[in-house]
């Protein structure tokens, strides 16, 4: 993280100072501004008619071919073109005649100039002129568009966002071709000066929502934005809620679908993850290709997801409640076999489930962090040590392994991986409750979770809508995915 240096000339230079007409002074100022910045290149050019130019750019961020071929060569070899009438200044001449770049602009303070230079512009300073001409010739190494890695879908686009904001907005523009697609720019972060774009479709998104998001983003005052999560944290309603209140996606089609539903997307430069606000509970359980596949399959899949979501949050705690508090509720034969397998275990069921849940979460985390070369190690050690050895040694009873792994796997059925976190997390308080009070505790915990969900109201949209509050016309889309011809 860059820290303002407090030595030498820098501290004396006020970057907000306006550019003077003396090239020498300007050069001195710029040198002091860019002190100890080895990647800044100063190029002094003297033209045939003794006009002096200073070119300034960040090495590695500009298109060198472009600068050489369209700017430097004409300037050096041909000089100032003749017979064009009176040009008021050299810089104007450059702008009009020589600099064949798409975007140019003129600024008059060092601060603005420095900002733009750092973003890949070439700065032109001419002797005798009190302004800086900047041409956008930025070009740097970026990742190409790849397949989405966290939001797999069998059907639909294979393009996912990249780190470059412009690429990402382009992907969106290519889907939604209308002038109503608005993209409002923001710049956030004192050091990172990250570009943030607020995208919405005028006429579909409600003005209230747009205003709300706009003011929230504009109100952010932080040093740095390294990922869209920074923005998310600043504009989400309830930071303490375990449930995500913003959908994060790396798919352009998901963003487009969200915008067409009247939601707002927040693009952040430097990350492929785009935020879509507001989000409801049911959005978390929908997959990107829900609307591409035939509705019958999708409806079935949705129900599978709902059931597995419930399963993943409840299975371990209900298992504890049934085996330790209400054994009369189990079928007799099931109870016998569970008891038979439990005879050797040294720990109470609650402790066993806790141990295994911790192990499972550990394995999950390790699976993400391990370098790819030793990735298989986790599965081998996990399956062998936890699955088999622990059971055979009689430390953990076999049903616990089944319960924990089944619940763990079912949390990964949820298509938005972030939505699996709260379900996995809330398992632990439910475990404690069921270990203390049996099914009564589980019911208690569920009531608390439900109360919280009903209270959640991100950006004015109730989290459980359309179930609570009930919206008749949208309700069917939660339980079924109605055929499209009928929904319209």
């Amino acid at each position: 993280m860059p820290k303002p240096s407090n030595e030498g000339v820098t501290s004396q230079v006020n970057p907000a100072r306006t550019v003077s007409s003396s090239l020498k002074d300007n050069e001195q100022t710029l040198i002091s501004i860019f002190e100890h910045c080895s990647d800044i290149v100063f190029r002094r050019v003297t033209l045939r008619d003794d006009a002096k130019l200073l070119l300034l750019y960040v090495d590695g961020m500009i298109d060198k071919d472009l600068v050489q071929n369209t700017i430097l060569k004409p300037l050096l070899y041909e000089g100032v073109p003749q017979g064009l009438g009176v040009l008021s200044s050299l810089a104007q001449m450059c702008e009009m005649e020589l600099v064949a770049a798409l975007q140019t602009q003129k600024v008059s303070t060092f601060e603005e100039a420095a900002d733009l230079i750092l973003k890949g512009n070439v700065a032109f300073l001419a002797d005798g002129e009190a302004s800086v001409l900047l041409a956008d010739v930025s070009q740097y190494e970026t990742r190409s568009i790849e397949e989405p890695s966290t939001e797999a879908a069998l059907r639909g686009t294979r393009e996912s966002f990249t780190e470059l904001l412009r690429t990402n907005t382009t992907l969106l523009r290519r889907i939604i071709v209308t002038t109503d697609l608005k993209m409002e720019p923001f710049e956030i972060g004192k050091f990172t000066k990250t570009e943030v774009v607020l995208a919405y479709i005028k006429g579909i998104a409600t003005p209230d929502l747009i205003n709300e998001v706009r003011t929230r983003i504009a109100g952010i005052d932080i040093q740095s934005v390294l990922e869209s999560g920074y923005i998310e944290e600043y504009i989400e309603d309830s930071s303490y809620s375990p449930f995500p209140q913003m959908q994060s996606t790396e798919r352009a089609d998901v963003v487009a679908a969200g915008l067409l539903e009247g939601r707002i997307a927040v693009f952040v430069n430097g990350t492929p993850i785009v935020l879509v606000v507001p989000m409801t509970f049911w959005d978390g359980l929908q997959a990107p290709d829900d609307y591409y596949e035939r509705f019958l399959y999708v409806t079935m899949n949705r129900w599978i997801r709902y059931l597995f979501a419930l399963f993943s949050i409840l299975f371990p705690s209900v298992y504890i409640a049934l085996t330790t508090y209400h054994p009369e509720m189990m079928p007799p034969k099931l109870m016998m076999s569970i008891t038979g397998l439990r005879e050797q275990s040294p720990f109470p069921t609650v402790i066993e489930v806790f141990l295994m849940e911790f192990m499972f979460e550990g394995l999950r985390e390790a699976g993400i962090r391990l370098p790819q070369q030793i990735g298989p190690l986790v599965s081998i050690v996990g399956a062998l040590v936890i699955g088999q050895a622990a059971v055979q040694a009689g430390i953990i009873s076999a049903p616990i392994v089944i319960v924990v792994s089944a619940a763990g796997i079912s949390s990964f059925v949820i298509p938005r991986y972030r939505f699996g976190y709260p379900l996995r997390m809330l398992r632990f308080p439910l475990l404690v409750l069921s270990g203390l009070f049996g099914l009564f505790g589980v019911a208690l915990g569920l009531i608390m979770i439900l109360t919280h969900l009903i209270q959640l109201n991100p950006l004015g949209t109730p989290y459980l809508e359309p179930i609570a509050p009930t919206k008749q016309n949208k309700l069917k889309n939660v339980f079924l995915r109605r055929p499209r011809r009928r929904t319209s």
């Binding site: 054994p327 009369e328 038979g340 439990r342 270990g435 208690l444």
Partner: protein, 378 residues
């Protein structure tokens, strides 16, 4: 934040103080899988519990050195729970009654009357009402509990399936309770006996317990009689009816399904009359006679013979009930009660006696549905 913390604490406290603290691992429980009631030689109540040994049930080892799957523990006592207390003295784990699959009643117990011991199973919330109930003919409940089952690891779970395999609805304790509460008549309980030689059990028909006399045992019905009795009661789902084979030199068997019974109570100047109508349809599954089911004429004959033979069996059964046992166990009492609620008040006191004098007509209709894969007998 403070408020919600207090709420949570209150909720937790309410749970603890209201006694909702009964955590018990399943391997701290002695799971009673079957219960038996007997009167022993000294005339005292003897309760036997079949307790499952889960280690002998579950688990992958099925070798010869596998543990036994159950143990039968018995003790005497003043009543059910007192005896249970005495059983507990012999066990290291708490008795757990909620999975009791079977209740067996020894013959001597049935002879002395079941009335006194009905209460415990209902009153105790930890007790299972869906246990199948059997009377042990010529034996004690303990003997049956100790037999080695053929298929299941535990005899108690097997007993429930016996009735199902014979086409009856299983007779659960709760049904016994429902039938024994209204006054008048008798209750029909399934009966089981033990084959001393093979150490196996046998379905032994049914036992008749007189409700008007402290639910004491009146007598037993043979297995075949019990099928017809259950048919009249509407508890028989399927039955194979066979002609005796005197005519036409061979027997014919019909697997009758969808058995229905219709009991008509008529009261006129001649007094009360009963008409029992039984019907069923089925497939001809065996034909050793010279009749050809593909011919309409023969088919009619088959149906007629079959219905007639079934009718004779039912008439015989009703005669046995009226003359020998003087007990009404067909559930006719309910029909009379429904139709003549006023008269029933005076009838219910000695309904068994009244029943034994009623004129009863029987009508059985058996229809074929499928003559089978071949025509005449091969």
């Amino acid at each position: 934040m403070n408020k919600s913390l207090i709420t949570v604490c209150l909720l937790l406290l309410s749970a603890v103080t209201s006694g909702c603290w009964n955590l018990k691992e399943t391997n701290q429980l002695a799971i009673v899988i079957g219960g038996g009631l007997d009167i022993n030689q000294d005339g005292r109540l003897e309760v036997s519990s079949q307790i499952a040994i889960p280690a002998g049930l579950g688990g992958p080892d099925t070798g010869p050195n596998k543990k036994r799957s159950f143990v039968v523990v018995s003790a005497t006592g003043k009543d059910f729970m007192d005896a249970g207390q005495n059983i507990q003295t012999q066990l290291s784990r708490t008795l757990f009654y909620a999975h009791r699959q079977t209740i067996l009643i020894g013959q001597r117990m049935a002879e002395q009357g079941m009335n006194k011991y009905l209460d415990m199973v209902v009153r105790n919330p930890k007790s299972e009402m869906r246990s199948v109930i059997f009377v042990v003919k010529d034996g004690t409940a303990k003997d049956i509990l100790e037999t080695e089952p053929v298929f299941d690891p535990l005899i108690s779970t097997a007993l429930g399936s016996v009735q199902m395999a014979l086409g009856m609805k299983p007779f659960y304790y709760r049904e016994f309770l429902c039938e024994s509460r209204p006054k008048g008549g008798s209750v029909l309980l399934p009966a089981i006996s033990i084959q001393a030689s093979a150490k196996r059990f046998n379905y032994a028909g049914a036992a008749v317990l007189n409700k008007e006399n402290a639910l004491k045992l009146v007598g037993f019905l043979k297995p075949e009689e019990s099928y017809y009795a259950n048919w009249i009661k509407g508890r028989q789902r399927a039955l194979i009816v066979s002609t005796s084979g005197k005519q036409n030199n061979g027997s014919i068997s019909l697997r009758a399904q969808g058995l229905k019974s219709h009991i008509k109570v008529v009261k006129d100047s001649n007094g009360m009359r009963l008409h029992i109508q039984l019907s069923g349809t089925g497939d001809i599954v065996e034909n050793n006679s010279s009749l050809d089911p593909s011919l309409a004429k023969d088919l009619r004959t088959i149906e007629k013979n079959m219905s007639k033979e079934a009718e004779q069996a039912v008439v015989k059964l009703i005669q046995k009930a009226q003359k020998q046992y003087k007990a009404e166990f067909f559930g006719i009492a309910r029909h009379v009660h429904n139709k003549y609620p006023r008269e029933w008040k005076s009838l219910q006191k000695d309904w068994n006696e009244t029943f034994s004098k009623l004129p009863i007509t029987v009508e059985v209709h058996l229809r074929y549905q499928d003559p089978g894969q071949t025509n005449s007998s091969i």
